[in-house]
């Protein structure tokens, strides 16, 4: 069963079409990434799924439930981490987590809170006011607030934006642990390198789905593919991207051994995604 099923979803703000007839299916238990530049429609899409936004048209089902009509049943089963920390600076980390957690009936909420504070490595700062925390620590508290009621799906809106690389690695380790425990994670990012850390990715631009695939499939789009035609016979090889790899491969076909290195320019994942976006947008203009 798919955790999320979106059919023909659109959201219009005046003249702006924030979501443009979008279709999406997210299988259970994976880390699903939505990647796109600012204003692509990532947050709007997440808000539609958590029931904080009324779509102009289309259908959304999360765990088989309608986010607006069956919001009370759904809210027990989802966790939401907004783009801004959305925490109370004058409360401590533990007070924030307990407050949001108490919206649902949770057995032993204090024990659960201690466990997730330990899970996010915040135990030593649990009783400090959130206003004294760094951006990365606030993100972790925000994550705790989203997962305190043990949700089946976590919606994370740009969870790693504006934090340092070390904390980013830590957060991704946490996401992976959660996914391994069966939680479906749906997250948005504008950092293209994070695509590699997801199980499946949808590329979004101007509210439209441009491509949906696994990161591996997307990377393959950018591999260095060498094609040689010898005596009319075409031979294709996929090789590594160092100049030495290319030279040694060409030497097999007669390249002067004195040539030890042939440099080529390969695209990285960010360039590939940007290229996909530009290509599709040009196509749409025509």
């Amino acid at each position: 069963m798919n955790a999320i099923e979106i059919t023909n979803l659109s959201k219009q703000y005046g003249k702006i079409l924030a979501l443009d007839h979008m279709d999406l299916s997210v299988p259970e238990g994976m880390i699903y990434g939505i990647v796109g530049s600012n204003g692509a429609g990532k947050s709007t899409l997440i808000k539609a799924m958590v029931g904080s936004l009324r779509p102009t048209s289309g259908a959304t089902k999360v765990l088989g439930l309608d986010p607006l009509k069956e919001k009370w049943e759904l809210r027990k089963q989802i966790g939401y981490m907004p783009q801004s920390p959305a925490l109370y600076d004058d409360l401590t980390a533990i007070e924030n987590i307990l407050f949001f957690g108490k919206a649902q009936s949770i057995n032993n909420i204090e024990k659960v809170t201690d466990e997730i504070l330990s899970f996010t490595e915040l135990t030593t700062r649990a009783n400090d006011k959130v206003g004294t925390f760094s951006g990365g620590m606030k993100k972790r508290v925000s994550l705790c607030c989203a997962m305190v009621h043990n949700p089946k799906i976590l919606f994370l809106d740009e969870p790693t934006a504006a934090i340092d690389p070390h904390l980013k690695i830590l957060l991704w380790q946490l996401f992976r642990k959660l996914a391994q425990s069966g939680v479906t994670i749906f997250l948005s990012t504008h950092q293209m390198d994070e695509v590699l850390l997801c199980d499946k990715v949808t590329i979004l631009s101007n509210g439209k789905v441009l491509a949906t695939d696994t990161p591996q499939k997307l990377i393959e789009l950018g591999k260095t593919k060498l094609t040689l035609t010898i005596n009319g016979i075409e031979k294709s090889t996929t090789i590594g991207s160092t100049p030495q790899n290319l030279a040694s491969e060409l030497q097999k076909s007669g390249l002067d051994p004195l040539i030890s290195s042939v440099a080529i320019q390969t695209e990285n994942i960010e360039e590939i995604i940007l290229s996909i976006m530009n290509h599709r947008e040009e196509g749409n203009k025509r």
Binding site: S84, D90, F100
Partner: protein, 245 residues
């Protein structure tokens, strides 16, 4: 009910740590009432202090409770905590109820401080019964102001959106409700407009209490209207608070 209590507790815990808010909420009325005392001292002796002091004290409580409560609830929206509360599973009626409950205690304390200071500064010699009635009026008005702040905040997306409501609601309260001049002397339409503002009823009661032959029954309708404002605004706010964009 449980959700409402949790939210009220959170509001109080949060405000306890917000020194700027507490200073504005409790110290500002004390200072303003003292400035009022300085002004009244310059007036000729025949000006009846009794008729001026309490209505102005009521206005100060009304204004500060309204503006601070409205701004704090709007901050919930701009910081994203309001949306988060809703998605976490708090019903909007519990959010409004929790805020009301949280501010209820604060409003009581603020009106008690402002009222006690006014009695002391202006040397007002009232019987215990009169003092009690006056306090109830100012307290009811402060609760109405909290409700008005919560209701108005549902129309605002950020703090600056509250500002237009000051000339629309608060300033007419000064001119049209009997605070400065008897509202009976105003043109009929202006008098009706003044009748729509909650402070009008509080001032009515405070003026009546000063009469030697005052009986509570004379102002029951005004008391009822003030209480009606509390429930009416609570009801309206639960409709106007949007859960979705």
């Amino acid at each position: 009910m449980n959700h409402m209590i949790i939210i009220a507790q959170r509001v109080l815990t949060q405000l306890k740590g917000d020194r700027r808010f507490l200073t504005l909420y409790f110290i500002a009325p004390v200072l303003i009432i003292y400035f009022l005392k300085l002004l009244i001292d310059t007036l000729p002796h025949f000006v009846p202090v009794v008729n001026i002091a309490m209505p102005i004290c009521a206005f100060i409580v009304h204004f500060l409770s309204f503006i601070l409560c409205a701004i704090l609830l709007i901050q919930e929206r701009t910081r994203g905590t309001l949306e988060r509360m809703l998605i976490a599973g708090y019903p909007k009626t519990s959010i409004i109820g929790g805020y009301t409950l949280g501010y209820f205690g604060l409003a009581t304390l603020q009106s008690l401080i402002a009222f006690t200071e006014s009695i002391w500064l202006f040397h007002l010699n009232y019987s215990f019964g009169t003092i009690l009635y006056m306090f109830i009026v100012i307290w009811l008005l402060s609760v109405v102001s909290v409700m008005l702040g919560i209701f108005i905040s549902t129309f605002a997306k950020h703090e600056a959106h509250v500002l237009p409501f000051i000339p629309l609601i608060i300033l007419p309260s000064v001119f049209l409700t009997g605070l400065i001049i008897d509202s009976d002397k105003l043109p009929l339409w202006a008098e009706w407009l003044g009748d729509c503002l909650p402070i009008h009823y509080a001032i009515n009661i405070l003026n009546e209490i000063n009469h030697a032959d005052y009986q509570v029954i004379d102002t029951l309708a005004d008391f009822a209207i003030l209480i009606g404002y509390i429930f009416g605004l609570l009801f309206l706010a639960s409709f106007t608070l949007k859960e979705t964009e």
